[in-house]
């Protein structure tokens, strides 16, 4: 167990260091973008020099960038994700309101994409003819090549506008005040198209990687050996091939999970889904530095955790892989 503990510590330290570098990089890049939150707040209709000066002073934006940086990093280590100038609230309070909708969307989408992609690959490998593989492959190439926002728009056009099967946007039907079970159903109804879009976009990668992995595994020496010994094909497939083939897609799934905070930004915009994607985009356009950095920070943590977890899960499945 101490080996594991050492591994874990090493990974965590490494992750912390990485996060620190990333945050520093992000900080300076964001601050070098033209415009600042205060100037944008005053807008273009009635801009006022007085407003700008007063607010800048209030938020400490008139101090040199490096001083701001030091202040920010110190706060970060105290667990303070910063303060949004635009909304006059702590970044965390803004983020936590939007995290849930995004996570529901991206986690459902990714999990479904993973399951369907992997199962399709396994299923196709069972078929006698090449036909199934070709059809599914071509479909997956096309889906992979489709811009996510374009697919979302087409979904709305077909399923909302023409067929009226699903609502266009938002999370709930605001006209009715459902409670309990009905509310959940309504929510799922609104969730369907965005999740479907996300799933279709992500599925191809899982399919292809799993398929390639299965094919490659078949060429491995151990397969020849086991077949020679007389292990039945079915058992060979289930016990060995599948277990080994699942590792590459799992790795990718881990990375995808890591990005689940902002992974669906374009889809959120098309479907007016009140998640992190829109928050982030607005933060960029309004130069809400601290909010933006807060989001990046959360994402960096997410990714690090996701990667470590993935490594652990994979090691669990296949003890051959050493945790170096």
């Amino acid at each position: 167990m101490s080996y594991f503990a050492r591994y874990l510590t090493r990974r965590i330290v490494s992750a912390v260091l990485l996060i620190f570098i990333v945050m520093t990089l992000n900080f300076f890049i964001i601050h070098s973008a033209p415009g600042d939150p205060v100037t944008i707040m005053t807008g273009i209709e009635q801009p006022s020099k007085e407003i700008v000066e007063t607010l800048k002073k209030k938020y400490g934006l008139d101090e040199p960038v490096f001083v701001q940086y030091v202040k920010y990093i110190t706060n970060l280590f105290k667990g303070d994700l910063g303060y949004s100038y635009v909304y006059d609230q702590s970044s965390w309070s803004l983020i936590k309101e939007r995290v849930f909708p995004t996570l529901i969307l991206t986690l459902s989408g990714s999990i479904l994409a993973f399951i369907i992609g992997v199962f399709l690959a396994i299923f196709v490998s069972h078929l006698k003819t090449k036909f199934g593989d070709t059809i599914v492959s071509i479909i997956s190439y096309i889906l992979y090549a489709t811009p996510s926002f374009w697919l979302g728009l087409i979904m709305i056009l077909v399923f909302s506008s023409k067929l009226s099967w699903f609502p266009t946007s938002g999370m709930y039907n605001l006209r009715e005040t459902y409670t309990g079970f009905k509310k959940i159903l309504d929510f799922l109804h609104h969730l369907t198209l965005p999740v479907l879009t996300l799933m279709l976009i992500q599925m191809p990668v899982f399919y292809r990687v799993t398929r390639a992995s299965i094919i490659q595994n078949y060429k491995e020496d151990y397969v020849t050996t086991l077949t020679a010994i007389g292990v039945p094909k079915r058992k060979l497939f289930r016990k060995y091939i599948v277990k080994n083939s699942i590792i590459p897609p799992l790795t990718i799934f881990g990375i995808t999970l890591g990005f689940s905070i902002t992974g669906a930004a374009l889809i959120e915009i098309v479907f007016a889904w009140p998640g992190m994607g829109r928050l982030m985009l607005d933060a960029i356009f309004r130069r809400d530095y601290q909010l933006l950095l807060g989001i990046y920070f959360l994402m960096a943590i997410f990714i690090s955790v996701a990667m470590i977890l993935t490594d652990i899960v994979i090691a669990f499945i296949d003890p051959r892989i050493r945790l170096t």
Partner: protein, 281 residues
């Protein structure tokens, strides 16, 4: 030279590779001969606003009366350039950084690996967004930025290749006869190890095209050029009653990215024939 001939021959046995290449060549012709193929100038305004596909306008017209077919054809130039330049920059950077880092090893390698890993943690797309906002939405900058943010995957591949090539007999011999490191890198390691990067680059070209489309969707594309992504963005308002404005640019985008994916896979299979062939039990 013989190796190259073999390579090409093997490539064309792969059906995906062939189809991908065919589509690519078609698009390339569109791009090069755009002037001769398009019936109208892409920016020519007319009074035929939002008219459906017809003999006069095979893909219909957009909200300013511009012929969509001509715009799609000219758009090929933008997409192919974005793909090539961005992926090219990414490949060059990736190859050199990966090779040098893998070869020399040591602390430089550690640092480079950390940098590669940290790139994984930055939401690349949003990084591109911010940078485009700084330098402006000029097409060249967009290509540059995409290239500068996607090299890590190439570097990783090259580095792995370098590490394995380093131990090969050829390199050891070269070292023993006193060849300088630089020579070894440039004559042995890079030329032998870069092929997977080339295959990866084909995929990256598709990715670059999609990134440009997403940037245009958010309004950050270059307003002076006709790109498919920009066409899709402008068509959103009219799509409910003028489907041709959004469908054709979308189809071509998918076509181009599919072509590059096919080519990438074709290259992959040519390089590693062990992986090719479909097996059922």
């Amino acid at each position: 030279m013989r190796k190259f001939g073999d390579f090409v021959r093997r490539y064309f046995t792969n059906p995906y590779g062939v189809v991908g290449f065919a589509i690519f060549v078609t698009l390339l012709c569109f791009a090069i001969f755009a002037f001769y193929i398009s019936p109208y100038k892409p920016n020519a305004l007319s009074e035929d606003v939002l008219s459906p596909p017809s003999y006069k306008h095979p893909f219909g017209t957009d909200h300013l009366g511009r012929d969509i077919f001509s715009r799609v054809v000219y758009g090929t130039r933008v997409s192919l350039s974005v793909g090539f330049v961005a992926a090219g920059i990414s490949a060059l950077l990736g190859i050199f950084i990966g090779a040098f880092s893998g070869y020399y090893g040591g602390i430089v390698d550690e640092i480079v690996s950390k940098i590669i890993d940290s790139f994984l943690m930055i939401p690349i797309f949003f990084l591109i967004l911010i940078i485009v906002a700084i330098f402006g939405s000029n097409l060249f900058y967009i290509m540059l930025v995409i290239g500068l943010t996607t090299w890590p995957s190439n570097a990783r591949i090259m580095r792995a290749q370098t590490l394995s090539l380093k131990e090969r007999g050829l390199v050891k011999i070269a070292k023993s006869i006193g060849e300088s490191n630089i020579r070894i890198l440039f004559s042995h390691i890079i030329p032998n190890g870069m092929y997977p990067v080339v295959a990866n680059s084909a995929l990256q070209m598709g990715g670059a095209i999609l990134t440009e489309a997403a940037l245009s969707f958010l309004g950050l594309g270059d307003p002076n050029v006709t790109s498919w992504g920009k066409m899709i963005n402008e068509a959103r308002t009219y799509m409910s009653f003028a489907w041709w404005t959004i469908v054709f640019p979308g189809i071509f985008t998918i076509l181009a990215v599919v072509a590059f994916s096919f080519i990438g896979d074709g290259l992959q299979h040519t390089l590693y024939p062990k992986l090719s062939g479909v097996e059922s039990e």
